[in-house]
């Protein structure tokens, strides 16, 4: 929900008038000799609550609530950034932040003037949530936790432990800048996580699932939604009880649709963020316009998908989020930009300037990043593999931006022999190189789906909610880090 009267919100939440905020902006942009050219300032206000409930071993273990009310003042001049924040917002403290952030201008060199995007973007309305998830009665949430716990246990008597958490948050964001712009948004986010442990003859395995997004709590509480998570988690744990060690070495791999899109996030997404490419420290830095993947591969970052965990009405600099084609039919097309890096690279902003919270300056980040669907059916893809791995459940991943090596971690997989799934194998790390791995994509499925809404991406110490997605795909020649 975009607040029409951002100034009213600032008055109500922080007790600040437009004049007081303007004085902070003026102080931040004014050097010793009056207003300097090319100095940009924004103030990012954040107020709201995050709530968490954990149901563990059959009892409600934690009920917690965290209230945030703070602001960060940023001064940008050329490629230089000054930043200061306060968790106690008033005119005096903001003015102090402005003075700390302004110190960067003393280190600006003469050639530093860079015009930052000043488009008065009209944000989207992607998550018009009527009831703040934080305000839903605790009892409703406890009832849901108990139902999920029961559902997981009912799946199989070998399920021993179940842990279920519900996380709800709602933050009001107000961004004011020295380009005389003001933006405000209310950002709700809900999530369920389910994990369980199955035990048989002394052997233990775990399963997990979860999901959510920027939508009403009542959607999370719909039967089909939570039952799906309960069943996925339970099935994973039970299946793994029969698993054998994963093979080690190079083989052809089929990745399932949805969350395995973490491959895209690690293998190409991070490497296409504007900051690394401005600095020339990404493995993709010199590859714009070149083929970095097989012609079957098209990769898109889209922050405008309704209800999605990775979506935003506008980014954390006030730029409307967009749909950016990163790779089209194998060819590298675009980077993901925030205002600063777009300005320095003389590229357009893409609505990807994001921050974890008011304590951090924004940097280029992904939103919902996925590979577009293709022509093959998932069955055809599995049937095409003589000997390989079918990996449908993943943990997380990691990438070295500079050399392009990425890993992502299968939480259990299935062996394919002569086109048929034959048995379950334990988890293993898969490793590859960003600019090379996607050349080996030989089949792309027609079953594109996004993950269920559980991803958090970490970069430079900042975690932000993201989405990933992919159809079923086949990649040849992947190194699988099993133990046999």
């Amino acid at each position: 929900m975009i607040i029409e009267t951002a100034e009213n919100a600032m008055q109500k939440l922080f007790g600040l008038t437009a004049e007081q905020v303007q004085r902070v902006l003026d102080t931040a942009t004014r050097g010793e000799q009056g207003k300097k050219q090319g100095v940009f300032c924004d103030i990012y206000f954040q107020a709201g609550t995050a709530q968490g409930l954990t149901f563990d071993q059959g009892v409600l273990k934690n009920t917690s609530s965290s209230t945030t009310s703070g602001a960060g003042v940023r001064v940008v001049v050329g490629d230089k950034t000054g930043y200061s924040h306060t968790g106690h917002v008033n005119a005096t403290n903001l003015m102090q932040c402005a003075k700390v952030a302004r110190a960067i201008t003393e280190h600006a060199s003469g050639s530093a003037n860079v015009a930052l995007d000043a488009t008065n973007s009209v944000g989207h309305n992607l998550y018009p949530v009527l009831n703040s998830p934080v305000d839903i009665a605790l009892q409703e949430k406890i009832d849901l936790l108990r139902k999920i716990d029961k559902e997981v246990r009912l799946y199989d008597p070998r399920i021993q432990n179940v842990t279920v958490t519900i996380a709800c948050e709602s933050y009001t964001i107000i961004i004011v800048n020295s380009l005389e712009q003001i933006f405000a948004d209310v950002r709700p986010l809900v999530r369920i996580s389910v994990s369980c442990l199955a035990e048989e003859n002394g052997r233990k395995e775990t399963g997990s699932s979860g999901g959510g997004g920027r939508f009403e709590f009542s959607v999370l509480a719909e039967d089909k939604m939570w039952q799906e998570h309960a069943h996925i988690a339970a099935k994973m744990a039970i299946d793994l009880l029969a698993s054998t060690p994963a093979p080690a070495g190079v083989m052809d791999v089929v990745l399932g649709s949805g969350w395995p899109g973490v491959l895209i996030h690690e293998a190409v997404g991070h490497g296409l963020e504007g900051d690394f490419n401005r600095m020339g420290t990404s493995a993709f830095s010199s590859l714009m316009g070149e083929a970095v993947a097989s012609p079957l591969v098209t990769v898109i970052d889209d922050g405008t998908m309704a209800d999605r965990r990775g979506s935003l009405n506008f980014d954390d600099e006030g730029t409307a989020t967009g749909r950016t084609v990163l790779i089209e039919n194998g060819v590298l097309k675009n980077y993901l930009q925030d205002k600063k890096n777009a300005g320095l690279m003389k590229a357009g902003v893409t609505g990807n300037g994001r921050r974890q919270d008011y304590r951090y300056a924004p940097i280029p980040r992904m939103t919902n990043t996925f590979m577009a669907g293709g022509e093959s059916t998932p069955d055809e893809i599995i049937a095409s593999v003589k000997y390989g791995l079918y990996a449908a459940n993943f943990g997380g991943g990691q990438v070295d931006i500079t050399n392009g090596n990425f890993t992502f971690s299968a939480v259990g997989a299935y062996l394919i022999e002569n086109g048929k799934i034959t048995r379950t194998v334990k988890g293993a790390t898969l490793i590859g190189n960003g600019p090379k791995a996607l050349h080996n994509v030989t089949m792309v499925g027609n079953d594109l789906s996004l993950d269920r809404g559980i991803g958090t991406c970490g970069k430079a110490g900042q975690g932000v909610p993201v989405g990933v997605g992919m159809p079923t795909i086949r990649i040849n020649g992947v190194t699988v880090g099993g133990s046999q």
Binding site: S65, G82, T206
Partner: protein
């Protein structure tokens, strides 16, 4: 009920103590049967440079408060950065209302008063010199680190930047048993990361030195040169064939492995039976070379603390002794779940007891194997101990480091890996809160080409 109002001398005038006392008093007044509060404040400055120029200056004063209320066996916790008294009374009221709306957990509660710390040792965790360093000096140190790295070799072609960061903070913990403790600490660090290139390959190498006192930092030049060497030694990295070989973990990698292993001794994993170390007390869980110590009482230690997060005393303990598992890490909650006494659910300074061999001697003892310098990805399952991670490092042939390797994985099971530790180095340096000397695991699966 013990009343142990204790504070180390240096922070006796701490302004957070009256706030803590106020909130505990409000908690009792408004209906909490038990309650506790943690308050912390900090100042930090981050000075970043890149390519010889200042790039970022960040400064912040942060503060936060976390309050937990118990109403019988029901509980709730809340946190805020608003420390004004009317807001705190409101916070207490809301927390107790949340607790009342919550459900009973028979194991919920504060530690029993008898288990709380009775005194707060002064562990020398602050250095007044850090606050006196000028911004100009910080910039100069960051520039010197980057410049040393860039000037070290002409194949260093780019930089991710260098920084000097300093932090000072004070924390208070108080609970309704009458415990109130506080201490302050400082920290500073210099770091640098540069890019080496050759042919079509780029490799980043970084290094960082951190300490509680300024005089213990490595020089900016040392930090820069180490970063450059770490980038350069990876140039030309390639894959190797899949094979089973010994893996030598450098001290940073061994420390990561140690943290994962000790994570499996957490009471919360043990009472859920979700740890590969559950049920293994007094059993051999590692080779006889392995002794693991947790010492929160080291003077000036990066992980030192005079009491833990719930007021339990800091005690030196040997978690694993010559391969035998002595104890789990037990918070008061975990201890109640397991019907035993708490001993603190967190670690202070955690390390492998060093052995007698130098790193060079350990490498020389390997015919063909991997000297591991970097791992990536999650790749560790605490329930089963299964371990599989992306890896890079240097290949060992005939006892000598030869060429760099990347794009490979290492895999095994943590219990087997620890049983296969057959050498521990003498090169233990307390550069972080969890540290290790070089260690060698006799055999692991390396997957490559």
């Amino acid at each position: 009920m013990a009343s142990s109002k204790i504070a180390s001398k240096s922070s006796a005038k701490n302004s957070l103590i009256p706030i803590a006392e106020f909130i505990i008093q409000e908690g009792k007044r408004l209906g909490a049967t038990e309650c506790d509060v943690r308050i912390s404040t900090s100042n930090s400055v981050d000075t970043g440079v890149r390519l010889g120029e200042v790039e970022t200056l960040e400064g912040a004063r942060s503060r936060g408060l976390q309050f937990e209320a118990y109403v019988g066996k029901k509980s709730a916790s809340t946190s805020t950065s608003d420390l004004r008294r009317p807001a705190l009374t409101e916070l207490v009221r809301n927390t107790i209302a949340m607790a009342n709306a919550s459900e009973e957990d028979p194991f919920a509660g504060l530690p029993e008063a008898k288990y709380l710390a009775k005194e707060i040792p002064d562990l020398g965790l602050t250095d007044g010199a850090i606050a006196k360093i000028s911004t100009e000096k910080k910039i100069q140190m960051a520039l010197a680190a980057e410049s040393a790295a860039r000037g070290f070799d002409k194949r260093i072609t780019n930089s991710r930047g260098a920084s000097f960061t300093d932090w000072s903070g004070t924390t208070v913990y108080a609970n309704s048993h009458g415990f109130i403790g506080t201490y302050s600490s400082t920290h500073c660090s210099i770091s640098a990361a540069v890019v080496a290139s050759q042919d079509d390959q780029m490799q980043v190498g970084g290094w960082s030195s951190g300490a509680l006192s300024f005089s213990k930092l490595e020089s900016p030049e040392e930090v820069g040169i180490t970063a450059a060497k770490r980038a350069l030694r990876m140039l030309g990295a390639k894959k190797v064939k899949s094979q089973v070989v010994p893996v030598v973990f450098d001290p940073l990698m061994a420390a990561q492995l140690l943290a994962q292993f000790v994570g499996a001794t957490a009471g919360s994993h043990v009472y859920r039976n979700s740890s590969f170390l559950a049920g293994k007390i007094d059993q051999m869980v590692a080779s006889k070379f392995v002794t693991i110590v947790d010492d929160p009482l080291m003077i000036g230690g990066l992980g030192s603390r005079p009491y833990d997060g719930e007021g339990l005393p800091a005690l030196r303990r040997t978690l694993v002794e010559n391969g035998k598992l002595n104890t789990y890490l037990l918070s008061s909650y975990s201890a109640r779940k397991l019907s035993t006494t708490p001993n603190s659910g967190s670690t202070g300074n955690l390390y492998f007891e060093p052995g007698s061999l130098s790193q060079q001697e350990i490498i020389a003892s390997v015919g063909t194997g991997l000297f591991l310098t970097s791992v990536s990805g999650p790749g560790f399952n605490v329930v089963t101990g299964d371990y599989s991670r992306g890896a890079s490092g240097l290949w060992i042939e005939n006892g000598e480091l030869t060429f760099p390797v990347e794009g490979i994985t290492i895999a095994g099971n943590m219990l087997e890996m620890f049983n296969n530790i057959d050498a521990i180095g003498n090169d233990l340096i307390f550069r972080s809160s969890t540290v290790s000397p070089t260690i060698k695991i006799a055999s692991m699966m390396v997957a490559g080409d």
